[in-house]
Subunit: 345 residues, 2 copies
């Protein structure tokens, strides 16, 4: 992957050298950051706000494939998937810590690319990198990100607080990241069988980007504030719509009716799924990695969002006895199943 | 390692099943924990205190060797090394997040042991597990822990605030963890060459425990409060005394005189180092993993600590022009060198 590029060995720099090298471009911009990288711990000041913490582990060969993942995108994505969790609490993401496990064969230029993507994501989302750990790895690239944010107590949205009659809403569209992955995997197979054939991804930018470079929906948090809507519950869509909605219903002890025909699908997602003989709705329900926000709102808030192209109402919350139902296009009622992505399968 | 034990496959449980299984025994005890495991992010309440965050990555084959590391100890240690960073800020550790990358071949009983050690460490140190991530790993065991704590602004001790004339102090004794590691490595080699020979670790409990089951020095933080001492700077000894003292001096823009004869060594450390033809002082200076606290205090505080067996004065801070010096037993002056542990070598 790096054969045409300049290579510098990490072991020449050593652990501290590498940390200094990577962190010298970090500029702290957040008023809540009192002290960033360079001490035993970062010091943050959220005054009267609650502190929000979330963490994700990304492992080579499980969560990403370096054969088709540009490192800059990977860095960007590693930050985004973490910030998404803070937004899903209706919070402001303000800091991250970044731990990297790196093969000593990994050239510094590659680590720089990865870190560049992380810094770009942080800049774009107003987040400081305030700490981390860097180590050699015998087991491929390891990325662990912890995101930190804050929110006033009254603004925090949990998963367990959906109420009967609430409308189920989702931002953006679903299934694209999964279909994009199928496309990348297919092209990888073709390339492995015949390295002369160039990957054919033309015109597929949107779904490829949804997989490689997802953007956490901070804008939806801003929008909801603007519209004066506090969701009654919220979660981000990392494992697929079905799995996330089941989380909300289970934790809230409620049922739901989800309407297949309402699930927002991009036309490219739809067509590409079809070309793979995949049911586009299943890609949305079980695909995952969309990093959209799934949330419930009071019926009284419907007028505030009904004209908004970024938010789609896809169902409603019911009493628990009614169960969690998917209503198909033909009107059949199916029990909603969590076929979310399982790294252990 | 697990051949005589019951084995249950992780992939039968799946990711959510495993998380539920592991986290069902978590009891939240900290008043600062508003919401723990089970939502997109944990919610913490530090009211008017500063939030402290630190993170460490532990990788199989780099930071630990499962050939001689009991998983319960490993879990305990993974938490301790992180809490140590919060104590090094003179803070109260209150929460951790724990991410695990696990081979699907790893039986659930093994994960349970690991988690049991983590829960034990948390219980003993009054810390809540409030989140994490669990994933399959294609190679070895990956452990990423983020520790969270708090402190009043006036209590926080940084690395960059040592002053000329301050006394350099260290808690406990040094070098034992490194010597313990040499012992474990030797016995592993003997075992690999002849599996009939049982490991000979008799009477070496102290140094073995210092390696396998270190205890972060929360007690020193309590003691310093009791003695009404606020260190002028502080760091924990993870990479070796030499490396840590250089951090303090460099960040404070100061020099130091460190007296070799003052470095606290346990007699077992001393004797065992000698039996390996190692210089015991070098084990303390460059060995690392002691998780003691290295700190500076004003000379005026000397009387408060001079009779305390848990704290040793090992030198003093000088003007930067004097350099960072190690004064040997024979009175020779050497420049202090950071030969701290480097995972990339």
């Amino acid at each position: 992957m790096f054969e045409n590029k300049e290579r510098s060995d990490i072991d020449n720099l050593g652990e501290f050298g590498l940390i200094d090298h990577l962190t010298k471009n970090i500029q702290l911009t957040q008023p809540t950051t009192t002290k960033g990288v360079g001490d035993d711990a970062a010091v943050l000041d959220f005054s009267d706000k609650k502190t929000l913490i979330s963490t994700d582990l990304l492992l080579e060969g499980i969560h990403f494939d370096l054969a088709y993942t540009p490192l800059k995108h990977l860095g960007f994505k590693a930050i985004q998937v973490n910030l998404s969790d803070i937004y899903a609490m209706n919070g402001t993401a303000s800091q991250v810590t970044v731990s990297l496990g790196l093969s000593s064969k990994f050239p510094i230029e590659a680590v720089e690319e990865l870190y560049e993507g992380m810094l770009l994501a942080c800049k774009q989302y107003n987040v400081d990198i305030v700490g981390g750990d860097t180590s050699a790895s015998k087991q491929g690239l390891v990325i662990s990100v912890t995101s930190i944010g804050y929110a006033a107590e009254k603004d925090i949205t949990y998963r367990h607080t959906a109420q009967e009659g609430d409308l189920i809403c989702v931002s953006g569209d679903l299934g694209a990241a999964y279909v994009g992955l199928q496309l990348l995997e297919r092209e990888k197979q073709i390339f492995l069988e015949n390295p002369q054939i160039q990957p054919d991804l033309e015109g597929k930018d949107y779904i490829i980007e949804r997989q490689l470079k997802p953007e956490a929906r901070q804008d939806i948090i801003f929008l909801l504030k603007e519209l004066a809507i506090k969701p009654t519950s919220m979660i981000d869509v990392s494992d697929g719509l079905s799995s996330e909605l089941i989380h909300i219903c289970t934790k809230s002890n409620k049922g739901c009716n989800l309407y297949e025909e309402k699930i927002p699908l991009d036309p490219m997602t739809y067509d590409t799924a079809r070309s793979f003989n995949l049911d586009p709705a299943v890609c949305a329900l079980s695909g995952g990695e969309d990093y959209e926000l799934l949330f419930t709102i009071k019926q009284g808030d419907y007028d505030k969002i009904k004209a908004n192209p970024d938010i789609t109402v896809i169902g409603h919350i019911t009493e628990p006895e009614a169960g969690m139902n998917l209503i198909s296009r033909s009107g059949n009622v199916h029990a909603l199943k969590a076929q979310g992505w399982n790294a252990f399968k």
